[in-house]
């Protein structure tokens, strides 16, 4: 047999891919999708940038990032009767339940997840307008933040990237 061995193509010679995620939500259930996709992209050797804006600032605000909530209000996918969702204590209960499910799948909490992404080389950016609006300083935000940017600067950085808005 002189056939060439079957060896996976890891695309080492391919042109560098770039992707960016705009995280604009501050609820627990909407924080994870961007982080999980970013993790998948980084594992594939793709240059990855996340831009946090508006309520997404809660994901990198040290005061809130470890304490995001999930509310069943206005979310028919929880299959909970709509009239029950706004009851007192429901958000706490739903958040606890979701955290338990995530934990069972070995999915880390948000601060640990972000640190893991940073270890993989993920770039984290904060939106200038949101920083001003919420009166935040760099000390309020996650350690190792790459910087605070206006949209124009972010557009330059993600030149050529695929972008997802979450």
């Amino acid at each position: 047999m002189t056939d060439a061995p079957i060896v996976p193509d890891f695309g080492d010679d391919d042109e560098l891919r770039k992707i960016s995620f705009v995280c604009s939500k501050g609820s627990l259930d909407m924080a994870y999708p961007g982080l999980i996709m970013a993790s998948g992209a980084l594992e594939q050797g793709i240059e990855t940038h996340i831009f946090f804006t508006f309520w997404g600032m809660d994901m990198i605000n040290k005061k809130t990032m470890g304490n995001l909530k999930f509310s069943p209000v206005g979310n028919p996918a929880t299959h909970m009767p709509a009239a029950l969702a706004p009851f007192p204590g429901m958000t706490t209960m739903a958040t606890k339940q979701m955290k338990k499910q995530l934990d069972e799948l070995d999915i880390p909490d948000i601060p640990t997840f972000l640190a893991h992404l940073q270890d993989m080389g993920c770039h984290l950016w904060a939106c200038k307008m949101s920083v001003d609006m919420f009166g935040l300083t760099e000390d309020d935000m996650i350690d190792g933040l790459d910087g605070v940017l206006n949209v124009g600067d972010f557009m330059e950085i993600i030149d050529g990237a695929q972008t997802m808005f979450i």
Partner: protein
């Protein structure tokens, strides 16, 4: 399943080239697999990752993700990117003779 020859050993692989038989793997083969994907030499740090992956696979029945190698195996993620550049999760699985990790994180 295709059969391919790596070095002087015939092995069963999937369509991409990942080993499908856990027991067909050995250390000499790992060196060949590594050199096939541009890792010229496996050092002690590579072997630490490989042996964690092999034993974890035996216990768990699936390939550890990067995060698991860090959280359970104690090997920093940054180091994994240095040892198996660009696509560490896939490359380390390949060299360890295991399927690609199925988990997302």
């Amino acid at each position: 399943m295709p059969v391919t020859t790596i070095g002087d050993q015939e092995i069963h692989v999937d369509d991409e080239g990942f080993l499908t038989e856990y027991d067909e793997w050995n250390e000499d083969l790992a060196k060949e697999l590594a050199s096939n994907i541009g890792i010229a030499e496996l050092n002690d740090d590579h072997w630490k990752v490989i042996s964690f992956l092999r034993s974890d696979y035996q216990e768990q029945g699936e390939t550890a993700t990067l995060r698991r190698v860090t959280a359970v195996g104690g090997i920093p993620t940054k180091e994994l990117f240095q040892l198996f550049p660009k696509k560490p999760a896939r490359k380390m699985s390949y060299v360890a003779g295991l399927p690609k990790p199925a988990g997302c994180i």
